[in-house]
């Protein structure tokens, strides 16, 4: 009897303990639902700008709208003039440089290289009017373009090659009366089309998002969260939350998935544990450039070819330029698997005039590793480019790419590298040896958008596998399922073979001897 009770207890207790350990953490159904409730609350604007007499008039110049804005919002322009959207500089601490001001004004990228000397064209995407050279007056408030962000009429557009001025013959009155919180097209106008075409730069920000479904992006999707950009990218005093680490270097003011979702959003602890070392994006954005192609490779050295003295272009099936006399050879790709790197919110940057210390040259470098407590694995698009440099001074050069007219040395007008580099380097007051060659560069773009529905998230086996692990490049960590010690494995298999061999030899010998003994007995 006692025995039976003992056995029953021995059975029941482990089951009971296991029940406590594994099943007490019932799924918390409310977290995501609460978020949905919050997002579903639409905010009604407190005022109707179309009723204001200040806006019910004809505006001759776009600056007049700005002045009308400032006449009521009489401090806001000061906030705007502190932002990197206006200054194209940011004051940041950067490893090995200390506190410096950097941004589009003095950085070099591996798309159109630099704004310097080509401001008239590049600065179509500046939130100002008339930033057509480095002499632009950053203190003149009337040149702030309030409308590009706050137009809600959908009518406002900046003119091409006009240094940020809008198109002529727009209905400024209607536009000014429509103002409100920025919508997706306000942000998308610049952020979707940077780098020479839709989705060219980011790979996860593009025009398809205007109409995307939740398969493409659960947040922005029209049948998903129906977010606007500013739903997450909130602004305090015009300082918008979220960073782009091609022009940022400090771990501050970041916008994280965890801000809404917390760092333990999954029902299973073992998945939540991953959040200490793996960013949400890594699993939840399995591919990027899901709809339209993005640039992945750019060979500037092929630029300048002419047919009958005239520039030409070759388009691919999606209408993207794979060759341009102005820009050289460009590779476009879609449905890409990101590459994966450690990232902790800090990075360093190659700035104009720096020496090239490695090839390929990393124009932005993440200072992170497994052993760093703040580092997580993030998905990135790595843009790879072959771009001009000065082999004598061993630094990247700044070619003048654009000008209104031919004959001013702009590469895109005159197709002469020497002249373009000469003009560009003079413009930034840097010496040039007179020689140029081309060098490989890389730029790291974190993939943050186009989050897939949870069903499409990565599965364990995508990383935890011997072959073709997504994290094959992350080498400074032991990854279960991917890694093993050949020494331990070989020793182990050898041991098992030796034991098995011992069993067979010993057992075989026993059989042989027992037969002999039996025969003797028979005799």
């Amino acid at each position: 009897m006692k025995k039976t009770i003992g056995i029953i207890i021995a059975f029941i207790l482990p089951v009971f303990l296991m029940y406590i350990i594994f099943f007490e953490n019932e799924p918390q159904p409310s977290k995501l639902d609460l978020l949905r409730q919050t997002i579903a609350q639409k905010k009604v604007p407190a005022v109707d700008h179309s009723k204001f007499p200040e806006l019910n008039r004809k505006f001759e110049r776009p600056q007049d709208i700005t002045l009308a804005c400032i006449s009521c919002h009489n401090k806001r322009h000061e906030e705007v003039m502190q932002t990197s959207h206006w200054r194209w500089l940011i004051d940041e601490y950067m490893d090995s440089r200390g506190i410096i001001s950097f941004g589009k004004r003095n950085a070099i990228n591996n798309f159109c290289i630099s704004i310097n000397g080509s401001e008239g064209s590049c600065n179509r995407c500046h939130i100002g009017y008339g930033y057509d050279s480095k002499d632009f007056d950053f203190t003149k408030a009337e040149n702030i373009d309030c409308i590009v962000c706050h137009d809600n009429s959908g009518l406002y557009q900046k003119e091409k090659e006009a240094a940020g001025y809008p198109k002529k013959d727009l209905d400024f009155t209607k536009i000014a009366q429509s103002v409100g919180k920025p919508k997706m097209d306000n942000c998308g106008f610049c952020h979707f089309d940077g780098g020479g075409g839709n989705n060219a730069k980011h790979g996860d920000l593009e025009e398809a998002l205007y109409t995307a479904n939740r398969e493409i992006d659960v947040h922005l999707g029209r049948d998903g969260g129906r977010f606007e950009c500013v739903t997450c990218h909130e602004a305090k005093k015009h300082n918008i939350k979220g960073r782009l680490y091609t022009v940022a270097s400090m771990n501050r003011n970041r916008l994280l998935c965890e801000d809404c979702h917390s760092n333990s959003p999954h029902n299973e602890d073992i998945i939540n544990e991953h959040t200490t070392k793996v960013a949400c994006q890594t699993c939840h954005i399995p591919t990027y450039a899901k709809v339209n192609q993005t640039k992945t490779f750019w060979d500037w050295s092929k630029a300048g070819k002419l047919i009958d003295g005239k520039p030409f272009k070759i388009e691919n099936e999606q209408g993207n330029h794979i060759y341009l006399s102005e820009k050289g050879e460009i590779r476009w790709e879609s449905n890409l698997q990101p590459e994966y790197v450690w990232f902790n919110g800090t990075s360093t940057h190659y700035l104009m005039g720096d020496t090239i210390d490695e090839i390929p040259l990393k124009l932005n470098k993440f200072l992170a590793s497994y052993s760093d407590m703040n580092s997580k694995i993030y998905p990135v698009k790595i843009m790879r480019t072959i771009q001009p440099y000065d082999p004598v001074y061993n630094r990247l050069v700044n070619p003048k790419l654009w000008d209104k007219e031919t004959g001013k040395g702009a590469l895109w007008k005159d197709f002469n590298w020497e002249r373009a580099i000469d003009e560009g380097m003079k413009y930034v007051n840097l010496e040039w040896s007179g020689k140029y060659d081309f060098v490989q560069t890389e730029m790291y773009w974190l993939i943050n958008h186009m989050v897939s529905p949870k069903e499409d998230a990565l599965k364990c086996e995508d990383c935890h596998t011997r072959n073709n692990s997504r994290l094959a490049a992350i080498k400074d960590v032991y990854l279960p399922g991917r890694d093993h010690s050949p020494f331990v494995d070989n020793f182990g298999f050898a041991l098992i073979i030796v034991v098995l061999a011992g069993v067979f030899i010993h057992g075989g010998t026993r059989i042989v001897y027992s037969r002999k003994i039996n025969k003797k007995k028979e005799k």
Binding site: K459, E461, G492, L500, V503, I517
Partner: protein, 219 residues
């Protein structure tokens, strides 16, 4: 010969449960290890963890049982007769020689078994359980709160755990074979299933083990 009740109910339950769990753990762990694919990585991990906790609970009960019943004395190592036992496995067994160490309910294990099982209990199982727990909690708690375990290199833990797994598998193979070396081919197996085994009846001082002497002096 006398039919002796040699393996108690809990002992048999513990033995078979442990056997099942160890084999199940081996199957799942080598899937996690990347050696093959059957359950799928996620399921393999979950099943491995559940089996591991079950085994730990079982071992806690077994430890309690061993101390409560005094059965732990079965594992006190002895060098006495160890040469005889080795010689038996190398030569005697082939000639149908008698087992050199007599099995009694107070001394179930021969000197080699004592050493092996003691090794399992104080080296291999603690190694597997400690590396297993560190494997699960090498970063614990997840957030930056209070005291925490932070081990930078999971690799070392994983290698030791893998090594232990190979040793356990080697043990299981050898153990399965050595089951057949009892009085008859299946007498050991039968004893572990039913609890009863036919053992020699007579008390012979010569074969009386240390344990018996100790037990008697303890009384």
């Amino acid at each position: 010969m006398k039919r002796v009740y040699i393996y108690k109910g809990f002992e048999r339950f513990w033995h078979w449960m442990q056997a099942f769990l160890v084999i199940f753990l081996a199957i799942t762990v080598f899937e996690v290890h990347g050696s093959f694919s059957f359950f799928g990585f996620e399921q393999a991990v979950k099943l491995h963890i559940i089996a591991a906790y079950s085994l730990i609970i079982l071992i806690i009960f077994a430890i309690f049982w061993h101390f409560a019943t005094g059965e732990w004395r079965q594992y006190i190592p002895t060098l006495e007769n160890i040469n005889k036992q080795i010689r038996y496995y190398i030569t005697g067994i082939f000639q149908n020689a008698p087992h050199p160490v007599r099995k009694t309910s107070l001394s179930k294990l021969n000197p080699l078994q004592r050493l092996t099982y003691l090794g399992l209990k104080i080296v291999l199982f603690p190694l597997m359980i400690s590396t297993g727990i560190l494997y699960l909690f090498y970063r614990f708690p997840q957030s930056d709160a209070g005291i925490k375990i932070t081990i930078d290199n999971l690799g070392i833990i994983a290698y030791l755990h893998t090594l232990g797994a190979f040793l356990l598998i080697a043990f299981v193979i050898a153990h399965l074979y050595l089951i057949t070396t009892g009085q008859t081919l299946i007498s050991n197996l039968k004893a572990m299933i039913t609890g009863y085994e036919e053992l020699e009846e007579e008390e012979n001082e010569e074969f009386k083990s240390n344990i018996e002497v100790e037990n008697e002096t303890a009384k």
